[in-house]
């Protein structure tokens, strides 16, 4: 990494990551599904802008493609699918979550602090040491877990899963110079197909159980 054209500890980048971390907390604290989906969609768009900032010195078509695909996919297509599923199910809020909004918010805040501490414990390359990429990634993964475990609605759990994926995407930005385009596009493709299938399943569950309450999904147990 001898070229000095890029600096991953870029202040603008850290601003975007900080915003993304704030959106994590917003998603954790929101009881209404539309605002949760909005947090996730804005976070996806911020994530799409990051490769452009990282590579400001040497922009080429492949960086543009990754950025465009991320913004369209994470910012519009996926949230759109979820909004459609939400309207079809005619629900607006997550009823009585397993984990209340205030406890999950507190847990998320504690997780964010722990993420910063944990990121300090891991060795980083000099050009990454001033960056929030690793703490942001860990915090988003934790947020995703809290939502997936703590919420009742299938749509909220999908949101949690996507925030977890966003955390992994943040971490992947550390490797933007070494992960070939094939791998990147494969990952994006898988994600899109995955959400498409999740959307279908949500639709089927809705029809089969007449609700999107995963507490009704409890016939199978020992």
């Amino acid at each position: 990494m001898s070229n000095g054209t890029w600096m991953i500890g870029h202040p603008d980048l850290n601003l975007l990551i900080g915003l993304a971390m704030g959106l994590n907390l917003l998603a954790l604290g929101s009881s209404r599904l539309p605002s949760m989906i909005r947090s996730m969609s804005v976070q996806g768009m911020l994530l799409g802008l990051m490769p452009l900032l990282l590579e400001a010195g040497n922009l080429d078509w492949r960086i543009f493609l990754v950025a465009l695909a991320t913004i369209v996919g994470k910012g519009f297509v996926i949230p759109g699918l979820l909004r459609r599923a939400m309207r079809a199910a005619n629900i607006e809020r997550d009823i009585q979550p397993f984990l209340g909004y205030v406890p999950s918010l507190l847990l998320g805040a504690a997780g964010t602090i722990a993420a910063v501490a944990l990121a300090r414990a891991l060795p980083l390359l000099p050009e990454h040491s001033g960056s929030l990429l690793v703490p942001g990634a860990i915090a988003s993964v934790l947020t995703g877990f809290i939502l997936m475990i703590g919420r009742v609605r299938a749509i909220s759990q999908v949101c949690g899963y996507l925030i977890l994926e966003n955390g992994i995407y943040l971490f992947g930005l550390l490797l933007i110079h070494s992960t070939p385009l094939l791998v990147e596009s494969g990952i994006l493709l898988d994600l899109t197909v995955g959400v498409f299938i999740i959307g279908l399943i949500v639709d089927r569950i809705q029809r089969a159980f007449d609700s999107l309450d995963t507490r009704k999904l409890n016939t199978l147990r020992e």
Partner: protein, 480 residues
């Protein structure tokens, strides 16, 4: 390049199935492409193509030791599938047939992937492709199982991607280029950053362990195996889990090259023993004979993990066990499918006297149960004996005791369920349901063939197979 045909041919088959107009003849595409795949695999098995270190896909010794059994299992399941889908001709099978063939192509790609990112993409694609197969029956219970599979499996696959990135960063931080081929990572060896290698190991073990179904990440398995058609269960248990095991073995070799092999082995041993224990305890409690197969699968994944922890001899035994478990479990799944259709229920509370109603399936099921619980002279007996020997040779006394006790408990648990449904007099309801099910050659010959293969593998393990396993071990443990 001939090895790429293993991926291309089944994917082409999937495309043909997707456009094939006739619902009644479409299932025959399964055995047709299954035969083509087996012929190709065994041709390459006998005459392995050269593999360059930088290749992203390669029929290397590890792929050679694993892929043939997946191919064989698929062919037998395909033959069964053609009969099964004829019984269920009321349902459209376009998606089912196309996705099964796509899964065969993706499994071939996963076993041959020599690049961490490609391995991840294929595993993720297999996960997504199995989803519509799981809810083929369209019942609410099947959707529930699918939802859990997506949520648990999706989280696992996400963590393994994070682990892959960590391994890439271990290479960057150690002064490498972040090249994610296994050859480059192994070559960098001790140059990889240790803290990042260990972080990556934990995440990759949890991630691919979820796909394998190691406890405590096994929770999707009983639901998925319990609700999916048996042919899907057989391919999940004998095919999809082996790709995850291949992934763990390849990553373990990188961790070993980085100098952290002992820690990796200890975690593999603990997670393997824990899986066996959890499976044995649940086997003592379950009342559903399809869920029983899932817990048995968790137990055998534990055995694979223990084998992988015990150095070269253990890994060789584990590769043998991949074969013996895949073939035997396949026979159990397919005969369980017959019994489930005839009995109309998967629970031992409702089903009795199966030996009267479907005598042939019941005989295969009972024999398969004895085979999978390591009764000689079936293959699992010999492969588990080799795992045991490797454990004793490396001085793992406590592990050996736990291993043997779990095998015994699992034996009690399984015989309890199996004899409850086989013995006794069938209830009138079961009897009238079973009258609609005929044990044709199409649904009896495939599980019988798998059972025969398991017996043959135990009695006369071919020399060429033993050499293939030895070559795979030599690939994973290069002499410095």
């Amino acid at each position: 390049m001939s090895n790429l045909l293993l991926i291309i041919v089944p994917l082409a088959g999937a495309a043909v199935a997707a456009v094939w107009p006739d619902n009644r003849t479409r299932p025959w595409l399964l055995p047709v492409f299954g035969i083509a795949h087996v012929v190709l695999t065994f041709w390459l098995f006998i005459d392995p193509p050269p593999v360059a270190p930088g290749d992203w896909f390669g029929f290397d010794p590890l792929a050679r030791a694993m892929l043939p059994v997946v191919s064989l299992l698929f062919l037998v399941c395909a033959a069964y599938g053609a009969s099964y889908l004829r019984i269920r001709s009321e349902r459209p099978n376009r998606v089912f047939v196309a996705l099964l063939l796509a899964i065969l192509g993706l499994l071939s790609a996963g076993h041959q992937a020599r690049h961490l990112g490609l391995l991840w993409i294929t595993t993720e694609a297999v996960t997504l492709a199995t989803v519509p197969l799981l809810h083929f029956n369209g019942t609410p219970r099947a959707f529930e199982a699918t939802w859990k599979y997506l949520l648990v499996g999706g989280t696992g696959i996400a963590l393994s991607l994070l682990g892959s990135f960590c391994l890439g960063y271990a290479s960057l931080h150690g002064g490498g280029e972040g090249n994610l081929t296994f050859a480059a990572l192994t070559a960098q060896g001790a140059g990889l950053s240790r803290p990042w290698v260990l972080t990556a190991w934990v995440l990759l073990l949890v991630g691919y362990g979820t796909k394998m179904g190691l406890a405590p990440m096994h929770t999707w398995k009983p639901d998925a195996y319990g609700e999916a058609p048996s042919i899907v269960g057989a391919i999940l248990a004998g095919g999809v889990t082996t790709v995850a095991f291949t992934a763990i073995l390849r990553v373990r070799a990188v961790v070993g090259a980085a100098g952290e092999g002992p820690i990796a082995d200890r975690t593999l041993l603990i997670i393997g023993l824990f899986s066996m224990l959890v499976a044995a305890l649940f086997l003592l409690g379950t009342r559903d004979f399809k869920r029983m197969l899932a817990y048995s699968s968790v137990e055998h994944m534990g055995i694979l993990s223990i084998g992988a922890a015990l150095g070269p001899a253990g890994v060789a035994a584990a590769l043998f066990h991949v074969w013996s478990n895949g073939l035997t479990k396949g026979a159990l799944f397919l005969s369980a499918g017959n019994i489930r259709r005839a009995a109309g229920s998967p629970s031992m509370d409702d089903v009795r006297g199966i030996s009267i109603l479907t005598p042939r399936s019941a005989a295969i099921f009972v024999t398969g149960m004895f085979a999978v619980t390591a009764l000689p002279p079936f293959a699992p007996f010999f492969s588990e004996l080799l795992v045991l020997r490797a454990a004793l040779a490396s001085g793992q006394g406590v592990a050996t005791v736990v291993f043997l006790s779990c095998l015994l408990l699992a034996f009690f648990g399984m015989t309890r369920v199996v004899f409850a449904i086989v013995d006794g007099r069938p209830s009138p309801a079961t009897r009238s349901n079973a009258e609609r099910f005929v044990e044709t050659a199409g649904v009896i010959a495939p599980p019988l063939a798998l059972l025969g293969l398991s017996l043959w593998l135990g009695l006369f393990t071919p020399q060429i197979l033993r050499e293939a396993w030895r070559a795979a071990v030599a690939q994973l443990f290069p002499i410095p």
